[in-house]
Symmetry: C3
Subunit: 344 residues, 3 copies
């Protein structure tokens, strides 16, 4: 069971109810009235718990699992152990997500302003806003209904945060307009002065950074991530983007809808990612590039050119991923040939 120190279980739930929640068909040893008390990983689940299989790597764990029920893709249903109830769906991870969120709903916001928080008189707070200890809310800030600012959050003057958004501990927001239902993690820094300066024999001359950070709805921004404000144009993050921990976005970067940037990746100034672009962990995108819709960049790759729509690039420097894999194969062959020559 999830540790009750941190999570509160609303179960049990019947298999029939779980099938509804997961939009799944009941199969295997499933009796709709059977009660399931919790979710658990495949290798830890017991007979009154539900698990899921989403990754081919874990089929053996699935087959060996003692879970009472499992959310599973039809392709793998046949590999289930005897007696396991199945919740069969083509989207098992999503089905599991919904089940887990029903057992363990997000803690309800307790509205209220902590007495140590500082709220400027000119700030406008919507209904049911929660502001944690030592948070600082500056002049003319607007917080939508149900916003939740955790301890030590700083919202600088003029910033707007849409309804239902949550800002975790110690994050700082300046020069930005944030949409609804966003989640900004601990220590994230939005709206910093971008890295803009002119080279000059007498030293660098700072260029005023006169843009903002515009964040759409339903965006997640990871812990200790850094998002610089625009230099004149804005830095823009489209609806539904998922930005992981320690990601860096330079000034004027524009992300379309639903982009995913995995941990420690970075995008240099003025590059544009169209809708649903994905950058894997530690990937780097050079400045002034365009990654067209659904383009992907593999982990640790360094991109110097645009990526056409729907294509995946990888390597250093990044090239079409299939070319990169061929190149790696070629390197391995060359290595073997070198070995042979030595032996021969």
């Amino acid at each position: 069971m999830a540790d009750p120190r941190f999570f509160s279980n609303r179960g049990p739930l019947t298999l029939g109810r779980l099938a509804e929640i997961a939009e799944a068909e009941l199969g295997g040893a499933a009796e709709p009235d059977r009660r399931i008390s919790d979710v658990a990983p495949l290798d830890m689940a017991g007979p009154d718990e539900v698990s899921f299989l989403d990754n081919r790597r874990y089929v053996a764990a699935f087959t060996a699992s003692k879970a009472g029920a499992c959310v599973v893709h039809p392709d793998f249903a046949g590999r289930a152990p005897e007696g396991m109830a199945l919740l069969v769906t083509r989207a098992p991870y999503k089905g599991y997500a919904r089940i887990a969120a029903t057992f363990y709903p997000a803690p309800e916001t307790v509205p209220g302003i902590h007495p140590t928080a500082l709220i400027d008189d000119t700030a406008e707070l919507g209904e049911d806003v929660a502001v944690g200890p030592f948070a600082v809310v500056g002049a003319r800030v607007k917080l939508g209904a149900g916003c939740r600012l955790h301890a030590h959050v700083v919202i600088e003057a003029g910033v707007e945060v849409g309804a239902g958004s949550e800002v975790m501990q110690g994050a700082t927001l300046s020069h930005c307009l944030v949409g609804r239902n966003c989640l900004i993690h601990a220590g994230a820094r939005l709206g910093n002065r971008g890295f803009g300066f002119a080279l000059d024999p007498q030293g660098y001359v700072d260029v005023p950074q006169l843009g903002r950070v515009i964040v759409g709805d339903g965006v997640e921004i990871g812990a200790n991530a850094t998002i610089d404000r625009g230099a004149g144009p804005d830095t823009v993050i489209g609806d539904g983007c998922k930005i992981d921990n320690l990601v860096q976005l330079g000034h004027n970067v524009r992300l379309g809808r639903g982009c995913v940037l995995v941990a420690q990746s970075g995008v240099a100034g003025s590059s544009r990612l169209e809708d649903f672009v994905m950058i894997a962990a530690q990937g780097g995108v050079g400045g002034h590039l365009t990654l067209h819709s659904k383009a992907q960049l593999a982990a640790k790759s360094g991109l110097m050119h645009d990526i056409p729509e729907g294509e995946t690039y990888g390597g250093l420097p990044a090239m079409p991923l299939k070319d990169y894999f061929k190149l790696v194969t070629l390197w391995r062959r060359q290595l073997k040939e070198t070995e042979k020559k030595k032996d021969g």
Copy 2:
């Protein structure tokens, strides 16, 4: 116009005044008394706004721009659209920087100690210091005149910060001496105990880190950057260095004057960067190396050897950049030959 929620416009200014500020010659359709109300990007500027062209990529945008005036290099002046006033200079980005800083000067510091800030009795504060809410200033700290500490900044015992320096939200300074007119961004961590320990069969033995971080004048340190203090010698950052977000400097690293370290780059312990060295984004420098004056390391490159004066290295492992480009060309040719063999 820059969003008035965040920026305050001091315009309009005449073209003649702008030319003085930018150290530029008036050209094109320039009448010295014509009033310009604002700065704007090329593609958004209107007839009473001034823009700039600094990057060859944007010549088409320049030619199509509706900006009333533009700061431009003489080489591109001929590509201006009809009717555009030109401010011609060999340093257009610097010229624009000065114009933008005149329209939008940095907000003036309002001196004063926020009532929630904690200032140790033994701290010495210069004139006109500003200290934000919940900031903590420890014993024997010295803050020069006009220093500005934002909300939640922590300055540990003994630290000194020179006149005119600004420390953004939530940054922490310990074991360091910071020069004048520095800008330390939100969440930066200076003076951490470096990663120093001796390997031992009974476990790692921590080595006391007895040095400091010495920061020169006019240095910028990015958001969430981490600068460890020296192990015995100091970690040193020379005057005018520009360090971007999420950069890591290990113990005993020494940077000369005017070094530029772009986002997410890192320098391992005891390496030395002489004056005006540049490390592009996500670059990594191994320990105990020397990058001689004006050396450069390309983005994402991993350096295992010294770089001679003025040379640029790149790749993994890093080599002279021209060799790396040749190697990449070679790889592409080998790939093509492999394809041909398959087809042939």
Copy 3:
């Protein structure tokens, strides 16, 4: 001498006492009663100071050093300058560490709760706990004896921190159980909601992250590092692990005992590092991999496969390091041959 603004020297100590502390034999010009006043680097030490030689690169500095005494490996003792007292040991860095810690012991914790700190009534604090200004300690938190929380630390509800652990400025701990004698640096974020969501045509569906972060004893976690909590299983960090600044650990990552992760490295979700695995700076480990005991990954390398016990991998993509070195040699030869063809 270490800057008295930041460090307090408990010397002098006799050479005889230093030899005991370093578990070293006296050699060279060593008189046991001679008093040594301080530690110093080889190139800065004077006749009443002790230094150390641990790295072959610095033998010349050793031979030229004016240090009165030096901790040194027997292999290098013969290279000492005349008149230098030697403290000869096969573990000179460890010996130096112990000597330095005797001259400069860690500052003693002054127990007590700062009046601005917020401690929930249900929190349980052991003896001699120190809590700094503006720290926030939530409901049901347990802090072991001698724990030290610095300014602005946030410990969320239910978290437990073992005796003798220290949490530096502005770090946040949620959903975690931390062992004894740990050191968590400034701005580190433990227990964030991991990057877990199901892809879906209607947008991403967040998967509740129901695990914890379990941190063993004697663990060090660097400044601004980010450690996500588990998704269902826990994220686990074994006893004695050393995690450097800006490191990222994804959900469900498991580290054995004594793992070392150098700055800016990252481990993707569900990967497992057995005991004493080392990841050099900026290294990246893909998801769902196993790095067996004492495996090593070279700096900036990107790992897509498991590493067998005791082996070292490197490169992008990572391969056995000796193969990678051969490949680099091969590239260099190919480059030369290409040059010759052009010339020929």
